[in-house]
Amino acid sequence: MKRRDLLRTMCVAGGSAVLGGVTHLEAQDTDTASGRGQAMGVLVDTTKCLGCRLCEFACAKANGLPEPEKEIDRAVERTPTPTQLTVNNRYETEQGPVSVKRQCMHCLRPACVSACLTMAMHKTPTGAVDWDGKKCMGCRFCMVSCPFNVPKFEYHSANPKITKCVMCVDRLARGEEPACVAGCPAGALLFGRREELIEEARKRIYTEPGRYVPHIYGEHEAGGTSWLYLAKVPFDQLGFRTDLGTTAFPMYTKEFLYSVPLALTLVPPFLLAVNRATARAHHEEEPMIEAEGET
């Protein structure tokens, strides 16, 4: 009967390890969901953005990346690339042209982090989502999972990296603001605690209702993001997805993850019971016989 006990112990152990993970996920939720604590962010006021793209240049410089092209076709909607972590696009809207800077949204409960099986993608205490090359195995599950299609992969390298905006974690650690914010000449980017940024955004909407649509993109989208946007036209005209819902993406896998420890602890005893019940029907396969005493 030892084997059965062993099996049971293994299952319970495996189950509780997974359960530990799930509770970890939960804890992470309650910590950051409300945006309390240290969560920092950036408020992007697209009504102030000049479209000068100096944020792109500041980003490239701070991250040691090649300088972006000076002349670009403004009609083309660009997305970040492995060598350019932020892009500034111009959209022709009913209210005239609007420039929008895009980069990682630094979700409060990031899909990429919960997707990562090596914890290479991780949320830092300041709220920035960072990537660790010593851990990443390049599976690209973070790319599959990110609702904003942010992480990029170096497909033409033998030592490829996952690249994305990391909100200048090093500068943040030194108490500085992100490079793009420092480089913006128009005050379109405001760095601060997310809670206060939301207050500020609300204040702007209330005081100048003609200037803004009453929507802070990122306050609730995909469970809330550290980067927040204000605009004078609805966000679907600015290349934003407005069908993402307000559920944090890791929640979509929660039920499955919960069922794992249950299955690991409940299925084996059930199978064993059925096996015992039918044992008479197949006594020659008698499971628990010890091998001994044969020639």
Binding site: H24, G138, S145, N149, F256, L264, L271
Partner: protein, 425 residues
């Protein structure tokens, strides 16, 4: 234990004999320059070159993967579809060892072997797809457990399941080597391994679906639902069994000389039995699909091209084969079961590729289609798997083995020729 009581000279000669036996067995049996060998040989050679290129110049050098399509053929077919096809092993071991349906015993070994190799090669194909494979060790040795990741669970379950299947198959290896006592020991582990294996299978078959749960905004609503895991699990039952039927047909022809009396006698009954289980689970699956259809209010999409494709998948490759299975059962028509099995397999292929590749990023202007090089690498993986399968089936008692531990049949085989190792005694 055994070794310590054996005098050294006997041990040494035992080793020598063992070495000679292994060398003898390593030699290929039969003709080398058959059309099959030549074709697969070329494919494997080209695949090896392509993989070298891939590891030197990066994934982009031979694949059509992009920033919008991070997972292509290698994940969508090799891993997601391949593992569904390998589901037969857990279903058949469940029927034989848990439900005690002895009727299916003659196919247990070949099914487990197929399952094991499928996992080794198809799940192993995951490694080819990793950008930084040297770090694959991180989530295994435990310095970085991303336990909230579905992929973490799936990867671990693959690994553990391979161990479980190796244990399930190990008695055949022991018989091949003529190690009777070890065989008895290993045999005693079978039921434990089976229970563990079935549990893991239910979790990672559904887990493969759960991988796509966070891709909600990217997958067409006709294929995305919160129920993907359960749909993947249920469909893995008939996917796996259809594969068993399909492979059985080929095995019966190609390895005719290796098929034992009990399998030959019971093969038709087994196929019809499997067909019944297939048809049953397919109707359960259809019912679930119907519930999901209503729950997700999918009728709005039916009028589009995607809707037509969805109806083709379910109508042509689930309902039709299910009905064919039923008809085949009524008429005891083996040929029809094979047709139904092939249709079912195509249906699973379509379904898995729909979720992972075709309906993924369905709104994108630029569609992904694999390069010929991705396809060749996939074929190379399959070719090597077939080689290993053939090597094992031609040597170990896979298609011909005794059910009872103490039957005369087995004793005769273990003790007598043509096992070279034994005859040297």
């Amino acid at each position: 234990m055994e070794a310590t009581s054996v005098p050294i000279p006997r041990l040494a000669s035992g080793f020598r004999r063992f070495g000679r036996f292994i060398l003898h067995e390593l030699r290929p049996k039969g003709k080398i320059l058959t059309p099959f060998n030549v074709i697969t040989g070329v494919i494997v050679a080209v695949g090896a070159v392509l993989l070298a290129i891939r590891f030197i110049w990066g994934l982009g050098s031979i694949t059509n993967l992009s920033q919008d399509v991070p997972w292509g053929l290698w994940i969508g077919f090799d891993v997601v579809t391949g593992v569904a096809f390998a589901g037969g092993a857990y279903v058949v071991t469940f029927m034989v060892y848990i439900l005690g349906q002895d009727k299916y015993h003659p196919i247990v070994r070949v099914t487990v072997l197929n399952g094991f190799l499928a996992y080794v090669f198809y799940a192993g194909a995951l490694l080819l797809d990793l950008g930084r494979p040297w770090n694959v060790i991180n989530p295994i040795i435990g310095n970085s457990f991303g336990v909230s990741s579905v992929l973490f669970l799936v990867a671990w379950h693959f690994l553990l399941y391979m161990v479980a299947e190796a244990v399930e198959f190990s008695p055949a290896v022991a018989e091949w080597l003529g190690w009777d006592r070890l065989r008895k020991l290993l045999k005693g582990l079978t039921v434990g391994a089976v229970i563990f294996g079935i549990t893991l299978s239910t979790l990672h078959q559904s887990g493969l679906g759960a991988l796509y749960l966070m891709a909600k905004p990217k997958i067409h609503p006709l294929w995305y639902s919160e129920f993907i895991p359960i749909l993947f699990l249920v469909s893995s039952v008939f996917a796996g069994l259809s594969m068993v039927i399909f492979e059985g047909t080929i095995t019966q022809k190609v390895f005719r000389h290796r098929v034992g009396r009990s399998l030959r006698a019971s093969h038709d009954g087994i196929v019809l039995g499997l067909a019944r289980v297939c048809a049953g689970t397919m109707f359960v699956y259809l019912f679930l699909q119907l519930l999901v259809f209503v729950h997700e209010q999918r009728w709005a999409y039916l009028g589009t091209g995607w809707g037509a494709w969805y109806l083709i998948e379910l109508g042509g490759f689930v309902i039709l084969p299910a009905v064919l299975f039923m008809t085949a059962l009524r008429d005891r028509n083996l040929r029809l079961t094979r047709v139904a099995a092939v249709l079912t397999l195509v249906g699973i292929l379509i379904n898995r590729l729909n979720v992972s590749v075709i309906a993924f990023n369905w709104y994108a202007a630029e569609r992904y289609f694999p390069t010929w090089m991705e396809i060749v690498v996939t074929l190379a993986v399959i070719s090597v798997e077939l080689w290993v399968f053939r090597w094992i089936v031609n040597r170990m008692p896979v298609l011909d083995f005794a059910r009872h531990d103490d039957s005369d049949e087995l004793r005769a085989r273990v003790a007598g020729p043509p096992v070279a190792y034994q005859t040297q005694e």
